[in-house]
Symmetry: C2
Subunit: 197 residues, 2 copies
């Protein structure tokens, strides 16, 4: 009954993610998006509303794919402390393998977007809360298995680790040195008195 859409929405979003990831939100122009996707401005605006709409959609897509990859690491039959170290080793590999040192789109966005921007920041807050919750649940498991000191609070410890992840990501921008990153992660995990690899 009407002309069908010709482009693949998720593929367009992947290209958008790549741009925003590499250049940031304000560093990426609509022209950049037009060039990368091959879509004309009008089509982009029809599909996503405006530049911000494209970004928000890209952010959601990024988070969903991230969740999928994290889920495999955090939910399996390994011991909880092992899953935690796996998680951080994954982080380490991600950081050391990417020549562009793009880091994490969510954390980049947290850095770039002013606190005044409530719409974007509340989305980020929700996303980070999910990560924090995952960490907390693993830490609770650890505690139940006696792998965690009695006086440690999983709730606060999860925040500590989240903050640690933020730090790692930024540190990698100044000193992209795998050995240092590894040392920081070891120290981070040693805090909570778990064995690491």
């Amino acid at each position: 009954m009407a002309r069908p859409i010709t482009f693949d929405r998720t593929q367009v979003l992947q290209q958008a993610i790549q741009l925003f990831w590499l250049q940031g939100y304000s560093g990426t122009s609509v022209k950049n998006l037009v060039d990368a996707t091959g879509l004309q401005p009008g089509s982009l605006y029809a599909a996503f509303g405006d530049k911000r709409g494209i970004f928000l959609a890209a952010l959601d897509t990024y988070f969903n794919t991230m969740k999928l990859s994290l889920f495999g690491l955090l939910h399996n039959d390994k011991a909880p402390n092992e899953r935690l170290t796996d998680f951080f080793n994954h982080l380490l590999q991600e950081s050391s393998c990417d020549p562009d040192r793009k880091g994490c789109l969510l954390i980049n966005t947290l850095s770039e977007i002013p606190v005044q921007d409530a719409e974007i920041n509340s989305r980020l807050q929700t996303m980070f809360a999910e990560v924090e919750l995952e960490l907390k649940q693993i830490l609770i498991e650890c505690k139940n298995l006696g792998q965690l000191s009695e006086h440690q609070d999983p709730e606060l410890l999860a925040k500590f680790l989240l903050s640690g992840i933020f730090g790692l990501r930024l540190f990698n921008k100044t000193q992209p040195d795998t050995a240092s990153l590894k040392a920081i992660i070891d120290q981070l995990l040693s805090t909570i008195h778990l064995n690491q690899d």
Copy 2:
């Protein structure tokens, strides 16, 4: 022999710092700077070259005043571990007291500017290296006094703390909760087995 400059360079830089601090580099336009300083574009360009020049000058000024305030905290007759906790408590206060949550201009810049920008990033690297060195020296003092475990390396530990500071600053953007910040700092310092306040 020639018309003298009428404006106060350091005062102009203070106003520039405030803008870049609050809005970031790309978020601050030359018009913003013109409005805030009262100087015309031509005067700004005569004094600083271009927008980037203004930013670099502001960055340097910011770092110098920061060093002055840090020096008082890190170099006095208190015990080294006490100076370290003082330093982090200062960080805590700074974060919890600023309603704009501007964070630290250096860390904001590290976040915002792409790694490809060698000029700005090499400056940042130098600045952070100075902070890292300060931390390391205090940790060495601690070790000499037996306040630090024998198997801990001050060099790596300094990196760990620097990364921790990065993390704190970002964490404060998502969860501006003083109690959480305090808990993170405690955990951070407990890692290195020092007494805190």
